[in-house]
Subunit: 193 residues, 2 copies
Amino acid sequence: MSTKSTAERIIDAALQLISAKGYTAATTKAIADLAGVNEVTIFRHFGNKRGILKAVIEKFSYLPLLQEEINKNVTWDLETDLLNFSVKHFNFLMSIKDFVMIGFKEGMQFPEINEEIANTPLHIKNELIHYLQEMHERGKVREIDFEAAALSLIAINVGHFISRARLGTIVSDIPTEILLKTSISIFSRGLTP
Amino acid sequence: MSTKSTAERIIDAALQLISAKGYTAATTKAIADLAGVNEVTIFRHFGNKRGILKAVIEKFSYLPLLQEEINKNVTWDLETDLLNFSVKHFNFLMSIKDFVMIGFKEGMQFPEINEEIANTPLHIKNELIHYLQEMHERGKVREIDFEAAALSLIAINVGHFISRARLGTIVSDIPTEILLKTSISIFSRGLTP
DNA sequence: CTAGCATGTAAGTAATTACTTGCATGGGAG
DNA sequence: CTCCCATGCAAGTAATTACTTACATGCTAG
């Protein structure tokens, strides 16, 4: 048996099913079955179906922010730092893949999810802008629109993530490591004065 | 009244609703209402609900491939060509936004959609690789993993598209034009020998 | 004008879904 | 041991959903 609490097992099951099939198609019965729990237990814990989703969102709102992790290990060597960031960002997205997929599927219907999802890029963007400005002052990054540059870097990672998470190796089977390395090699060279 | 045929109006309504709420939540009744058509008419046209989705997918399988458009207007100036591609790619994605969203939502459940969606990046990737190789031979692009570079360029555009299509201006309100211009400015400089 | 074809209207059906209620049970805390 | 709390089980309900059938109506081509 699992060591997880009943509520946790329900949340995990809901996360899986909603991310795979969407909120409407993920029936309470299916969630209960996957969690190995009686259907009534769900309602006793969360009141109604929306309650499960609310709990799922809450679970991800306390995520240790990627932001803090990023600031560590700054070497002030552009390519090293950007690659470090890129790998962390990519792995972070992969680790919350199911939640991100729910965001794509249900963000329009449940705005709370969108806000939660938008939170991360917003913070990251600001960190990156700050970093790029500092690097510019150190003469290691050329004059450029820092916000647009930060957004572009985020876009690369998100793009790679989407491609891998949604299409697997249909489009390409290049190892992710090489993909990120090449991206950053090009990007950091493009930023250098 | 609309000049569109009944079938077309149903397909358009389904496209809107499924992209907004997902396949399961997009009721045949709701689709019929939005199309301004009686619910039975849907079944007379498409047999069953799956039939509507099939028709939606078919509608997008005959898209004039972006691929051909890209090859036009090649100037063999790196930044000019890449920006031209980037803008076209981004606008293409925006023009089929609803279909892309359906792909995100239902791709796992209806693999036909995924195949259709993966088609575009696959073709584009090959065109880009070809272009980069040629540019390399002309001494205008440095030695690099061309496939990874092509995928990265696609990733930037997809990333920007996702951000704009899903989060609007929550993350940033920089005009798309400037965003793409900056991306390409960095990227093309990063590719230059 | 008329025949036929596309569509609307009305009514219904079987299955599913979110959710409720009442009762049984078992394991852990006092 | 006993009490209680979480959970299981059984049964049910109102609403919704995909889909069907039968019939009426109106526009268009011949």
